[in-house]
Amino acid sequence: MEGVKLTIALIIAILLQWTLRNVWEPLAFIDFPLIIIVYAAIQRNSIRALLFGTISGVAVDALSGGLMGSSGFSKTLVAYAVSEIARRVYLDNLILRIPVIAGACFVSELVYYGVHRLFGQTTTSDPVITIAYSVIATTIAGTFVYLGLQSMSTDRARLRKRKEVFAPRRQTRRRNPIRLGK
């Protein structure tokens, strides 16, 4: 179920990435697919995160003026790095996830720019400004998305847990100890 939910979230993220720049130019700085990739990697499912990275990267590259596969390359690398960190460090706290999404975005943008330079391609935008804006915008958007995803998953998980723990127990009515003393 978690896999289906994340796949739907990734499809929505790709669609948003395709369309939102035409609605308002600054929205291009938010990397929606990366937010979902990092979330998948934090769930300690590295295979899912890696596949998400490549698929969403290629989907974005196909509509971009950049090199085909460059975004897929950077996102796959970031997905692996984050899943390795999540394996060693407990990242279930939202406060800890904020620097992770910021760092992931920074590395992803840096790698993206680096591979273009490696293949002799020049970008239209200034690298420092683009990286800075992308990190800020993606971190802010990522925090809200994680809050939403977390509330969706924790509500159901809490309910399930409560059912599992309390259902078999029979709850008896407590008697008033004062009355008993009488």
């Binding site: 369309t19 291009a28 971009s64 596969g69 273009h116 239209t124 935008s125």
Partner: protein, 298 residues
């Protein structure tokens, strides 16, 4: 779906990562080597994206159009008065022009000049912008089914916008002239009247172009218009590229440093025209040149 243990996942992940990275690397290497080619992945993805981008663009443009029309109502009355006056002026001008046209037709007939063939313009709507913040391409709602081909020039009423770099049956990707990779044969002023020939290329600054290789001994001034020469084999001659906004004069041995602002409003354009123009075939000796192989491939 096969359930894997956490240990298996951790063992498999590095190998999967290496395989995916290699796959992406091969894609990049291929893309960098063969520029301007048609890719199945691009074509299919663009076709799929069209079904999302077109409705979103229609909705957003109608919403923004509604709000802007409300805002425009305020100035409509003043504008109406101005327009009425302008219509009267134009009517007088039109009558003068009709006379000139008749005279022109008579003279053409007299000189036996053949009518110059003009290229068709295919109007199209910008349905998407580059999803990456690093580049500035646009996606328009006309594709190979409408007769669009690779490298066809794209214009607005203001001036040159760019060229078609990727195609799908329903959409085309347009690389803007502000991109560093684009090089346009250009001249300051009209062809035949000016000697200031050079190449216009994009810069890392948005909405700014650089004109290179203009001899420092030629007189050039800020505010002059820059037009295409048609010598690049992509764009026809006479299209307006922009106007000079900054100039550092060169000398007899050093070229001018010229910065140009594009005539077309690239950031806000909503409708563009694709010129169904195919450049004339290159002569045989030019096609045999070692560096000519890349550009002649289609």
């Amino acid at each position: 779906m096969v359930e894997r243990s956490q240990k298996e996942v951790w063992r498999l992940a590095p190998w999967l990562m290496i395989a995916l990275l290699l796959g992406n690397f091969v894609l990049m290497a291929f893309d960098a080597k063969v520029e301007g080619g048609e890719y199945v992945i691009r074509s299919w993805t663009q076709t799929a994206a069209d079904f999302v981008q077109s409705p979103v663009t229609t909705v957003t443009s109608s919403v923004s159009g509604y709000f802007s029309s409300i805002a425009n109502l305020r100035s409509a009355q003043d504008e109406n008065g101005e327009l009425k006056q302008k219509v009267q002026e134009l009517e007088v001008e039109l009558k003068q022009k009709e006379g000139l046209d008749e005279e022109n037709a008579r003279l053409r007939k007299f000189l036996d000049l053949k009518e110059q063939s003009k290229y068709k313009v295919l109007t199209s709507r910008v349905i998407g912008r580059d999803p990456s913040a690093w580049f500035d391409s646009a996606i328009v709602n006309r594709g190979s089914l409408d007769g669009v081909k690779l490298n066809m020039p794209v214009v607005t009423d203001g001036g040159l916008v760019g060229r078609v770099t990727a195609l799908s049956p329903l959409t085309s990707q347009v690389d803007l002239i502000t991109r560093d990779k684009s090089g346009i044969g250009a001249v300051v002023g009209q062809i035949g009247e000016s000697n200031a020939l050079g190449v216009v290329a994009g810069t890392s600054k948005k909405e700014l172009l650089e004109m290179k290789y203009v001899s420092g001994s030629v007189d050039v001034q800020v505010g002059q218009a820059v037009f295409t020469t048609g010598q690049d084999g992509i764009f026809p001659s006479g299209l307006k590229i922009g106007e000079i906004v900054n100039l550092v004069s060169g000398s007899a041995t050093t070229p001018h440093i010229i910065e140009t602002q594009p005539a077309a409003r690239l950031g806000t354009m909503q409708e563009v025209g694709i010129l169904l123009y195919e450049p004339p075939e290159k002569p045989e000796f030019e096609q045999k040149l070692p560096n000519a192989t890349k550009s002649t491939k289609k």
